[in-house]
């Protein structure tokens, strides 16, 4: 399956492609949507979470990145429709045969919102800052960035040449990320605490952060004279809306009530059960899936019973993914077909390797010696009960029901999934406990490099294999330095096979981000699943 525009579903039926002509069902029948964008208006966007620190190179929580997405331009643009890399601040680029020298021709005439020029010196400084961080100020480097050997500028060609310490195939994709956004000297010069405030994040993007009431609202206003949009953006001038007000509303019912009563235009996240009624009522329900990793369960080695591959295989085949979609979700969601999502470089459909087959699961568990059963139907061996611990994922509002259904499915093969809950702040620590056998991972990402960041023993080591699996280490590392794209795709294919064949990862669903828009919101767009309101306008 290839990733195409039909994957951005509108409501329960794919009626149109985004972001060109979003049409809500009922609205489409009663009122023809305008086609000429209108300028003006205040767009009110309701997120489920309040924003965190805006220090750019450090953390990157979803809701914060969604704001930054409107403030900062990047060297390279990943077109959300074609997934191709397109010029933005870099008007063209080339890579040498060794894969270490990147040459970027920089667009002329771009300025930051504080009036300073986005010139060669500024690009150079940004790249060095991203790669090195600023230790004295407690500012970490962008952990996705490769080590940079040197950056030189060429005034005549208006170009910047970056020499990497070693080849880094994800680099161009890394440059498309929100975190790699270009900022003015004023931001880089500021202290860590100053950088944390959104109004001090000075970029060249189509919006400027004007004000913030912490926890209450963030107001972005249109950048006057913006004329350096990505090459393939439909809008090439200033943004259409005058301002975007971003309001965190934690309560699901209040967020939805506010949107329905016209107090907001767009929101992120509704309960899947709400989606159909909303479409019927004329709202646009937009389920966005974008490349990266799917939602999967990672195996935490060293925890009871998961070291046995037969147990892992039994889980992999014991989960009925289609039933999960049918019972808990909507057509805006899809079953995973690999560890990577469709559209990601090297994506390989491996669904045949983990089709639901309870009989097979039972055979594997029998083969592993889990033949006795307790009165509860759960298998026993040497007096021990076959049980695996998991913590409800705090970053996904639907994960509790998801785990409960999986728990029920696995009970049928005689395995008990113990679902535990913890609070938001303790989750990273508590879910890392050695007694926890499975943990949720997998989100949209610029590049499959995210697997390397998570699982290479010298980086995340989230399988906790401590580098013992040399083959895995090699697969995680090799694709990063593979200069040839075809070769890299091949290596990534091998990596996916390896993760599934050895059941290091148990794929569940493709990650979906669901947005609800009022019928008059036109031109809603997304990049990497973050909302992108640059092309958005408000119809009457």
């Amino acid at each position: 399956m290839t990733f195409n525009r039909r994957d951005f579903l509108l409501g329960t039926v794919a009626v149109a492609a985004l972001p060109l002509t979003p049409i809500g069902h009922a609205a489409a029948q009663t009122q023809a949507p305008g086609t000429t964008p209108k300028r003006g208006g205040e767009l009110i966007y309701l997120d489920a979470e309040r924003t965190t620190s805006f220090q750019l190179t450090g953390s990157s929580f979803w809701q914060t990145s969604a704001v930054i997405n409107h403030l900062l331009d990047r060297l390279v643009f990943k077109d959300p429709d074609t997934l191709e890399l397109k010029p933005w601040i870099a008007s063209s680029w080339s890579i040498d045969a060794s894969g270490t020298v990147y040459d970027f021709v920089i667009r002329r005439g771009v300025t930051y919102s504080d009036g300073t020029a986005l010139d060669l010196a500024s690009v150079k400084r940004n790249l060095e800052w991203q790669s090195n961080g600023d230790k004295d100020k407690g500012i970490p480097r962008n952990s996705w960035f490769p080590q940079i050997a040197s950056v030189t500028t060429d005034d005549a060609r208006h170009a910047v040449t970056v020499t990497l310490a070693k080849p880094n195939a994800p680099f161009l994709h890394t440059l498309t990320s929100v975190k790699a956004g270009l900022v003015s000297n004023a931001t880089i010069d500021a202290s860590r605490e100053t950088q944390a405030i959104v109004t001090n994040l000075i970029g060249s993007g189509p919006f400027i952060a004007k004000s913030e009431i912490p926890g209450k609202e963030t107001v972005l206003v249109r950048r006057q004279g913006y004329a350096w949009a990505p090459a393939t953006a439909k809008n090439q001038g200033e943004a259409y809306v005058d301002s975007i007000t971003i309001i965190p509303v934690e309560e699901d019912s209040v967020r939805l009530g506010a949107l329905k009563s016209g107090q907001g235009h767009a929101l992120r996240y509704v309960q899947p059960s709400e989606e159909k009624p909303l479409v019927k009522a004329g709202y646009q329900v937009v389920g966005v899936r974008s490349p990266g990793t799917v939602n999967f369960l990672e195996v935490r080695f060293g925890a009871p019973f998961v070291d046995d591959i037969n147990v892992r295989r039994a889980i992999l085949h014991g989960i009925d993914r289609q039933e999960i979609i049918t019972k808990l979700y909507t057509d805006n969601w899809k079953v995973a077909t690999s560890v990577l999502a469709p559209g990601t470089l090297g994506y390989k459909d491996l669904s045949a390797k983990f089709a639901f087959d309870a009989a097979k699961s039972n055979q594997w568990l029998d083969a592993a010696g889990w033949t006795e059963r307790g009165t509860d139907g759960i298998r026993r061996k040497d007096g021990k009960k076959l049980e695996i611990n998991i913590y409800v994922d705090v970053y996904d509002n639907t994960s509790k029901q998801l785990y409960q259904l999986i728990q029920w499915q696995l009970k049928n093969i005689g395995l008990q999934l113990n679902i535990k809950e913890t609070d938001y702040s303790s989750y990273p620590t508590v879910s890392s406990d050695p007694s926890v056998g499975l943990r949720r991972n997998g989100w949209p990402s610029e590049d499959p490099y995210t697997l390397t960041v998570s699982y290479l023993s010298t980086l995340g080591d989230r399988f906790r294999l401590k580098g013992e699996d040399k083959k895995l280490e090699q697969l995680l590392a090799d694709h990063v330095t593979a200069v040839d794209v075809e070769r890299r795709a091949e290596l990534l294919g091998e990596l996916q096979d390896y993760l599934i064949d050895n059941v290091y990862a148990i794929p569940l669903l493709e990650d979906s981000q669901v947005f609800v828009l009022r019928p008059n919101v036109r031109g809603f767009g997304q990049t990497r699943s973050y909302p992108w309101f640059y092309n958005t306008w408000l119809d009457t």
Binding site: L46, I139, P140, R192, I247, V254, S426, P428, W443, V453
Partner: protein, 324 residues
């Protein structure tokens, strides 16, 4: 007895300071023992984990790599200079977060207290003196009903009706005083139950006492007897409760503030606790413990003004009972 009053006041203030200090120390070390904090969250952020080598900068910057005692001294030294530090989650100065939240909570708490007073007194007077037994019965049932209704439900019903249906007020934006009314009402309904209950009992008891007969014999009107004398006699336990309620309201209401998207002390507390944002939690705890101790103190000092007989008795004993 001004001398006794002074020494009593001084002692209560000293107690208040001690309570605040002990709370700070206790909370500091509890937070230290608990797993997880915003820095760890950033490092282990599953969507973008920071490798150990890069994370070291953060751990050093926030002194998380030092011992608990070391971190405690660093925090104390900063506190002595009036520096409350920065939120670990948002990077904002804690002092500015608190200063932003206080007016929000003050507006909500004072309005809610006013509503509480009106609701509780109306219910209590109706329950004790309404001419119709039906109305008295209804009024007597109300406090229990209020207590049994969860405040998030009240809040959501108010929003549903006045914001989503009638569109009189925004559910998500701050429109000044208009935005205070609904949450204040939700809060008042939540806290007025016990106050009304206590006042009803007080009124019934006081109304049965001999002095009422004496007043009636003197030819005073029923209204004067009730409003001028019975109410006053019944008010003491109610004032104690009102004082405690004020403390509660000033500490911020987590549920009400969350539902009505208000960024007062309750919201700040909820966010900080959720993320274990230690500097913010510590500042909020200090603020709230100070406010609580002060309201209890002020309540105790008000008694003599209502009932002069209290001042004639040894004050500390009465006050201590009241604050129990």
């Amino acid at each position: 007895m001004p001398a006794a009053l002074h020494s009593y006041t001084a002692r209560r203030i000293a107690q208040t300071v001690l309570v605040v200090i002990l709370t700070y120390v206790l909370v500091f070390f509890i937070l230290f023992i608990l797993p997880g904090d915003p820095i760890q969250q950033q490092i282990e952020n599953p969507q973008n984990p920071i490798p150990a080598a890069d994370a070291k900068i953060l751990l050093q910057y926030y002194h998380v790599d030092r011992s608990g005692l070391d971190q405690f001294w660093i925090a104390l030294r900063r506190l002595a200079q009036g520096d409350l530090g920065y939120s670990l989650t948002t990077g904002k100065p804690v002092a500015s977060l608190i200063l932003q939240a206080i007016p929000q909570t003050l507006a909500l708490a004072s309005t809610a207290l006013l509503f509480t007073g009106v609701i509780a007194f109306t219910i209590a007077l109706a329950a004790a003196f309404a001419p119709s037994s039906v109305i008295r019965g209804i009024a007597r049932a109300l406090p229990g009903a209020f207590l049994a209704t969860p405040s998030f439900l009240v809040g959501f019903l108010l929003l549903q009706l006045f914001s989503f249906q009638l569109g009189w007020v925004s559910a998500i934006r701050d429109e000044g005083f208009k935005s205070v009314i609904l949450p204040a009402l939700a809060l008042a309904i939540a806290v007025s139950g016990p106050i009304a209950q206590v006042l009803i009992q007080g009124l019934n008891r006081a109304y049965g006492e001999p002095f009422v007969t004496v007043l009636r014999a003197r030819g005073l009107g029923e209204a004067r007897i009730v409003l001028g004398h019975v109410l006053r006699n019944a008010a003491i336990p109610t004032v104690t409760l009102l004082g405690l309620t004020l403390g509660e309201l000033l500490a911020g209401s987590v549920v009400t503030e969350t539902i009505f998207s208000r960024t007062g002390i309750g919201f700040l507390t909820q966010q900080a606790v959720r993320e274990q944002d230690a500097p913010v939690i510590l500042a909020v705890v200090m603020l709230v413990s100070t406010v609580f101790a002060l309201t209890v103190l002020v309540t105790d000092l008000i008694y003599p003004l209502i009932d002069p007989r209290i001042a004639a008795r040894p004050i500390p004993a009465t006050a201590d009972q009241a604050s129990d």
